[in-house]
């Protein structure tokens, strides 16, 4: 038996969504978010346990999960997930270069996590904040009107944090 991954707190949070929908399957995305927010990934064992709660086959949950490309499954990503926009409005104002500066400063490629586990840098498609291009969403914080200075300062600040 694999060790249980979902804590009582996660199970309670998932069950709290049940009354909102006429089917259990509709709780799939909320459940995946609940687990991902806490573990920073959704391992296969969590998929199995979510499926049990939602009265689904694990394959059904995995099928949905794999569609989004949003939920990491192999190992936890960094404490902060930084999404740098590469779509048109940001690209016209230097968004792709911002991503380059950040990756260079952090010594990683897009999609990778710094060795200290503090920061994952990913490119994102349009963040819907084109009035502040180029921009980045790091955790819940929108970083506006990025420059090379702001971007590298952000990476320095993130990687200076003690685990």
């Amino acid at each position: 038996m694999a060790e249980r991954v979902l804590t009582d707190d996660m199970v309670a949070a998932i069950k709290a969504y049940f009354p909102r929908y006429p089917t259990r399957q509709a709780v799939t995305l909320p459940a995946l978010h609940i687990v991902n927010e806490r573990l920073r990934y959704v391992p296969i064992q969590a998929v199995i346990e979510i499926a049990q709660l939602l009265e689904l086959a694990p394959a059904e949950v995995q099928d949905t999960l794999s569609f989004y490309g949003f939920f990491p499954q192999e190992k936890p990503i960094g404490k902060t997930r930084a999404w740098v926009c590469r779509s048109i409005a940001c690209a016209l104002r230097g968004g792709e270069e911002v991503l380059d500066y950040m990756c260079h400063e952090a010594g990683i490629k897009p999609g990778e996590t710094t060795a200290d586990g503090n920061l994952t840098i990913e490119f994102a498609e349009c963040l819907g904040a084109c009035d502040f291009a180029p921009c980045m969403l790091a955790g819940k914080d929108l970083h506006k009107d990025l420059t090379r200075e702001k971007a590298t300062a952000f990476v320095k600040q993130m990687t200076a944090q003690k685990g």
Partner: protein
């Protein structure tokens, strides 16, 4: 200048709270509607206002509501599309962050009109502040008796729930949204049946956009005639023109001095928006091209800037339509080859993969442009791009949803309007792939 209505309160301190919203007349329209009007009267009011959906397709809102089956035992669902992901678009974010109650009042009125008992707001993951502000506003509404059982002492009850997406553009397609809400892969459904007949959880469903709901609030408050007095009337000679009525939120970004969300009557010209609202093209340059309504709509060339930004205007110059009214300005120092590559890469990334012409077409367009941008393009690549673009989408009849038409349009417009630039680029054999882009290709 036109006085903003939808954005009238966004600069007030704590504009997102119930207290401030009520102090500006908020929820008075809801009270009047629930006490004095029958649901069918609300549908008629919205129909006669001429309101067309603000999410991109511009379908008449009241007409959409009237497609719901009559005397259905229920439940009927209201789904609010806050998955705003079209590149360049952020008007819904502004409304949700700064005036969420204006949106929720419209949702309650719309749910009353359509007899929906549950409304789900599908909020894209990338909008954490919108999610937070909407949830706080919903909580305030339950406490104030605007949501829940027997709203304002009437027979009408409504629950509103937020449902968070997971960063997939296709969830903005209404049936993709429904599939995602149901906990499945967000693969758009084959239509018919349309959601009004069989939508969320196989029940009759209306899917409406955030700004559309804010318009419903203002129509209920100020009347259908007020709404219809703004904008561009339907052309009597064109039976397919349903008119472009009401105020519209335009998102202006790219190479302008003052990017931002601006409210104006439907039908201002692209040039007016850029010069009068956006302070002109940045760095004293000229515009080479302008995206009129999100990249799916294609491009206006520099000599098409007097195009009116109403539902009919962009189509007259070969664009797909008004779309989300997201206007992205591209200056004369920018290569259209690079711009088109960015658009194709986006669509290739976001195609759900269900339909072969879209999955392969978006991918091959991107690869062809990668080849051109790495200095190895061939002259025949230009017609190859056009051939691919002409074979994908609902318009040629090869795909389930319109993502593919939106992927094809920037290709068609870029090549038809800027062909010499593509030819010159290929002839020169130069490269414009940047180190940053190579970094992303390796990902």
């Amino acid at each position: 200048m036109f006085q903003p209505v939808l954005l009238a309160n966004i600069d007030k301190p704590n504009s997102y709270t119930l207290k401030v919203y009520e102090s500006t007349g908020g929820y008075s329209a809801l009270k009047k509607t629930l006490r004095e009007m029958k649901p069918v009267d609300v549908v008629e009011m919205v129909k006669s206002s001429g309101l067309r959906g603000r999410g991109g397709a511009g379908f008449p809102c009241g007409l959409k509501w009237s497609f719901l089956p009559k005397d259905h035992p229920g439940p009927i669902y209201m789904c609010i599309n806050a998955d705003e992901s079209e590149p360049g678009t952020f008007n819904n974010r502004v409304l949700m962050e700064l005036d969420p109650h204006q949106v929720i009042e419209g949702i309650i009125i719309g749910s009353y009109a359509t007899r929906a008992s549950t409304a789900y707001i599908y909020v894209r993951y990338e909008f954490p502040l919108s999610y937070e502000r909407l949830q706080a506003a919903i909580d305030e509404c339950y406490a104030a008796g605007y949501l829940g059982k027997n709203i304002l002492g009437t027979e009408f009850s409504l629950d509103v729930f937020l449902h968070r997406g997971a960063a997939a553009y296709i969830c903005g397609e209404e049936t993709g949204l429904i599939e995602s809400l149901e906990g499945k892969r967000a693969w758009p459904r084959i239509k018919p049946p349309f959601p009004a007949v069989e939508g969320a959880f196989r029940k009759p469903t209306v899917v409406n956009n955030i700004e559309t709901m804010a318009c419903v609030t203002q129509i209920a408050r100020r009347g259908a005639d007020w709404f219809k007095s703004i904008g561009v009337p339907a052309d009597p000679k064109n039976p397919r023109d349903a008119g472009s009525y009401g105020p519209k939120l335009y998102c202006l970004s790219g190479h302008v001095n003052k990017p931002g969300c601006y409210e104006a009557p439907l039908g201002i010209t692209c040039r007016q928006l850029i010069d009068e609202y956006g302070g002109g093209v940045w760095k004293g340059r000229k515009a080479k091209a302008v995206v009129p309504g999100g990249i799916s709509m294609g491009f206006l060339s520099a000599n098409e800037l007097d195009t009116t930004l109403d539902f009919e205007g962009p189509g007259k110059v070969g664009c797909l339509g008004l779309g989300t009214a997201a206007v992205v300005v591209i200056d004369d120092q920018t290569s259209m080859v690079d711009v088109l590559y960015n658009c194709c890469r986006f669509m290739s990334h976001e195609s759900c993969g269900q339909c072969t012409p879209c999955r392969e077409g978006t991918s091959w367009s991107t690869k062809i442009l990668e080849r051109i941008r790495s200095g190895r393009g061939k002259m025949e690549d230009i017609d190859l791009l056009l051939e691919v673009a002409n074979s994908m989408g609902i318009i040629p009849g090869t795909t389930i949803c319109g993502l593919s038409d939106g992927a094809a349009w920037p290709v068609k417009n870029a090549i038809n309007k800027f062909r010499p630039e593509f030819e010159e680029y290929i002839r020169s054999g130069r490269k414009s792939v940047t180190p940053a882009q190579e970094l992303m290709m390796a990902h």
